[in-house]
Symmetry: C2
Subunit: 346 residues, 2 copies
């Protein structure tokens, strides 16, 4: 989430319908079917609406570069490798990460309609952009969701200096009113993009985010970018969680693990897991809604610390940003938008 863009002097605001239309045209021009172009354009636009610009509008040109370089196979369809009943293995066939992840989420939901719970373990897929997309999709339809992806190496094991772990984002979501509570968290405390942006502005991170040359925790992004020893969340705990998420992704999908993905120059053919539970199979929907509402009410009645505002639940800030961006347009840096416009067919 890159709030700095909002007030950038060199920024513009693009209406979301306009953005989606331009994405659609560019995608169609690359040979995606109308249906696929529409899905991908919607996800990139929604991520931008929600304020996740790094995996929305700011990432779109790079996505097209991957298409043009044929790193992503635009004609690929996911294929079922194996079913054990309520868990299925699918091969993403090096296709578009967004489409494979949307498919797998819906497939897990369909399995859950039959067995209460459904799991899809997906191999050979590509970057899903923002994991929260799939968590929100499932939760809005009345499912709890747990999903994660492995990634290329980008984080050291606890006590190590070189990268052996991915930051393996984990998504957990639950239905809430007409929307969803969506946790979407990488195992690294701050992304390198965030740290680089802070360094450029000469600002410190709000909390320690890695180690300096002396092996001490620091919130100076320049010091961390010198050692590349980014902090896993919860020190050793997040490093352990990253390892286990990679292990389960590889075991369940039969796909590549982080160390295998890291052999390629570009991150591709990652492994992902999608668990859905159909909540309506477990009892009265209105009783479950009440359970969720009372938990959130209690949580939000927390006493804020001095200087803290309202206590937000995961995904709540995205709701506010979405509302604002629908009204005022999606903020984009002028040069980023210019680059996208250049991708339009003549």
């Amino acid at each position: 989430m890159n709030d700095s863009l909002k007030n950038s002097v060199s920024g513009v605001r693009i209406a979301h319908e306009e953005m989606e239309k331009i994405f659609f045209k560019i995608l169609s021009s690359r040979g995606f079917t109308e249906e696929k172009s529409a899905s991908i354009a919607r996800v990139f636009t929604d991520n931008s609406l929600d304020g996740v610009y790094s995996h929305g509008v700011n990432r779109f040109a790079r996505f097209i570069k991957y298409i043009d370089a044929k790193i992503i196979n635009i004609n690929a369809e996911p294929a079922k490798k194996f079913s054990a009943g309520a868990i299925e293995q699918w091969d993403g066939n090096s296709g578009t990460g967004i489409l494979n992840a949307l498919f797998s989420t819906e497939r897990a939901m369909k399995i859950a309609d039959k067995f209460g719970i459904g799991c899809v373990a997906l191999s050979n897929t590509n970057h899903w952009m923002r994991g929260g997309t799939y968590g929100r999709h499932a939760a809005k339809a009345g499912y709890t969701f747990i999903g994660w992806t492995n990634t290329t190496r980008n984080m050291p094991a606890w006590g190590a200096v070189d990268f052996r772990l991915g930051n393996n984002p984990l998504v957990i979501s639950a239905p809430f009113k007409n929307d969803a509570i969506v946790l979407d968290m990488a195992m690294s405390q701050f992304s390198y993009g965030k740290m680089e942006a802070a360094k450029e502005k000469n600002s410190l991170l709000p909390y320690p985010g890695g180690f300096n040359k002396e092996g001490n925790l620091t919130n100076d992004p320049a010091e961390i970018l010198e050692t590349w020893r980014a902090l896993p969340i919860g020190y050793w705990k997040g490093a352990g969680l990253a390892l286990l998420l990679d292990l389960l992704a590889a075991i369940l999908s039969g796909g590549l693990s982080t160390h295998e993905i890291s052999r390629s120059e570009h991150e591709h053919n990652v492994s992902q897991i999608f668990f859905a539970v159909n909540v309506s199979k477990l009892g009265d929907r209105s009783a479950i809604s009440k359970t969720v509402s009372t938990i959130i009410e209690d949580y939000q009645s927390s006493v804020p610390a001095a200087g803290s505002g309202k206590i937000l639940f995961p995904g709540e800030r995205a709701m506010f940003t979405r509302k604002e961006n629908i009204e005022t347009g999606i903020p984009v840096e002028q040069n980023i938008w210019n680059e996208i416009i250049k991708l339009l067919p003549a």
Copy 2:
């Protein structure tokens, strides 16, 4: 894990067979059946063997106190509330947490034998002591496992000063050789027990573990115990994860959430989730073993930072401690052991 006990001058070492026998006698004297006494005694002993004394021998007397106070119903059996196929809801009927959790783990494994994946959502149960017990149990038998429990309030929401969240330990495990890789992590960075022990010894925590009166992160346990603002792992991330784990525990089990559990003076009638996948249903066991081994090999070939030893995987330290404690006996503080001996029937 309380390594300080090992070298305590007032400590003794008890052979694990002896400890298990004494636990069994005490449990039988409280009216547990022979089978139940044996299971509970084994788990408390195993946890101690693995070095998790806080949920092993050091907790045993308190467990018996709860039995004597009838907070735990020793005659209760878990009862199936509902089945949706591959996910089942069970009511723990306020019974013994260890027995309910062992039952639920095995039941999830049995469902996974049929559907590939199995989930048990358990309501009205009691403290499972060490979550890793169940993760290791399932993984040693060839299952991947994801499970968690909610707890009473013991951690503030991010940006808050009062407790609204539980530290909701999460367990993820995978089969490894003849044993298991077992991650068992609470959402708080350090337990209050750990912070109190550090304070008593006038020592600092190895890393920041909470906030002081000024609202700054500190590794001084005395300062944290003054504000009771313990740090969630990964700052806002661990707080969000704790909230989602509570939400899913309550939604899936139909049981109590943290704020409801917190109405009682003692933590009881918690909600727990047990997911198991039967790995042998997904492909060749030897290929999967190789996947796990090569991931661990790569992980352990990390370059250690100055001052760091071997890079361990989650659960590996417990393996070393187990070996040592089998050979030399389980270390216990003399006064703790005396208290246990007093619980023996005349």
